[in-house]
Amino acid sequence: MKRRGMWRDRRAISPVISSILLCATVLAVGASVWSFSYNAGTMLRQNYCREVGQRVDGLRERFIIENIIFNSTGNNTMRIWVYNCGTINIKLTAIHVFRSGSVVHSETFEESVTIPIKGISEISFTTPVNSGEDLVIQAVSERGNKAFEAYRVP
């Protein structure tokens, strides 16, 4: 005896319905693929934009230590002036003082010191250095660029 159930009888599904089902499947899968591609593309674009933007900002950054003065007769205060000669605002995050290649003092700023384009900023701090020592002062920006200046303590 032959079973004539709905799932056994292929002739029960008309060609029209099968076409509709096929089209619906194609549309659903296609929409999913398109949605995934669009989101992935947007994410890729945003990441690339952010990374290149950061590199471009880093390229545009230029700054120098324009002057240094150390007052040993006072309270060992070192004053340095940092000039922004680049084409973007900079934020200083730290000043390091090196002696013979090793750091003798680090001055980090809780709130970054912002220097506008063509602007100059004075930073002063106390550091334990002695007369006659050769120092290298390093200013570090938030974007990771560095400026160096050699200084002999008078």
């Binding site: 060609p15 029209v16 076409s19 096929l22 089209c23 499947t25 194609v26 549309l27 296609g30 929409a31 693929v33 398109w34 591609s37 669009y38 992935a40 593309g41 890729l44 674009r45 690339y48 934009c49 290149v52 933007g53 590199r55 471009v56 390229l59 545009r60 230029r62 700054f63 120098i64 324009e66 002057n67 003065i69 150390f70 007052n71 040993s72 007769t73 006072g74 004053r79 000039y83 000669c85 084409t87 002696r99 013979s100 063509k118 100059i120 002695n130 006659g132 020592e133 050769d134 002999r152 008078p154």
Partner: protein, 256 residues
């Protein structure tokens, strides 16, 4: 019998056509915009790189000469000549008091065309008698030029002059290679006296095995001369010398 009518054939192609349309829409809405966007960002990066390279090149080409010289009263005149083919914008003139460790900053905005010069008078009446000052000039491109006449000295009469006397010193090294030294002269109030508070230091490098320096001092008298090797805080040579010196002081450096 096979059905080969219009409706029979087209049914098989609809889903393929839809699939193709979706592929094309993905190409136009995702791939091509992404490609264009990446191209645009690369162009921006290259353009910025070229602009900053040009800025660095201009910075290297920039060259000015600075002479600071005393004029009547408490005035220092700063002569600045633009020696390069670019326009130079002077932003600041630094007057650093070496004794009192203070800085007098003049915010200037001088625009020098190629070959032109300017003379800027600086009123330095706030400085104390006996002060020694260095004059430096900063430009907009981020370069600092020291005056050729550094260090200037304010005499007891209240007049500026280039330090009138000098201690000439020659350091003879033993090995090859570049070495750097610092020479410091400190004025004493007698041969065995204490410091008057005046001091001056210069940094020099060897040329061949010889390093030569001339340390300007304000007048006759005794000076404690100390010589340091680079990176060392203890001097390897010290001596009390009497100015005027009629021959250069020769210091052998036998150390490493």
């Amino acid at each position: 019998m096979r059905h080969t009518g219009f409706h029979e054939r087209s049914k098989a192609g609809v889903s393929t056509l839809l699939g193709m349309l979706i592929c094309v829409s993905i190409l136009f809405s995702v791939v091509i915009p992404l490609f264009l966007y990446i191209n645009m960002m690369n162009n921006l990066y290259n353009q910025t790189f070229l602009e900053m390279t040009e800025l660095d090149q201009q910075r290297m080409m920039e060259s000015i000469t600075v002479f600071a010289y005393p004029t009547a009263g408490h005035v220092i005149s700063v002569y600045i000549r633009n020696k390069c083919v670019l326009n130079v914008n002077i932003t600041r003139i630094w007057v650093t008091d070496l004794q009192n460790k203070t800085v007098h900053l003049l915010d200037e905005s001088l625009y020098l065309t190629p070959g032109s010069y300017s003379i800027t008078p600086i009123n330095a009446s706030s400085l104390k008698l006996g002060a020694s000052v260095n004059v430096d000039v900063a430009t907009e491109r981020g370069k600092v030029y020291a005056s050729e006449t550094n260090t200037l000295y304010l005499t007891a009469k209240g007049e500026w002059e280039v330090l009138p006397y000098a201690i000439d010193i020659v350091i003879e090294g033993t090995g090859e290679g570049r070495k750097r030294y610092a020479v410091k002269a400190e004025q004493l109030d007698g041969e065995f006296g204490s410091s008057t508070g005046w001091s001056s230091a210069v940094s020099i490098s060897t040329i061949g095995r010889i390093a030569q320096a001339s340390v300007g001092v304000p007048g006759y008298g005794y000076y404690n001369l100390t010589v340091y090797r680079e990176g060392q805080s203890d001097p390897f040579f010290w001596k009390v010398v009497k100015v005027p010196l009629f021959a250069p002081l020769v210091v052998p450096d036998t150390g490493n």
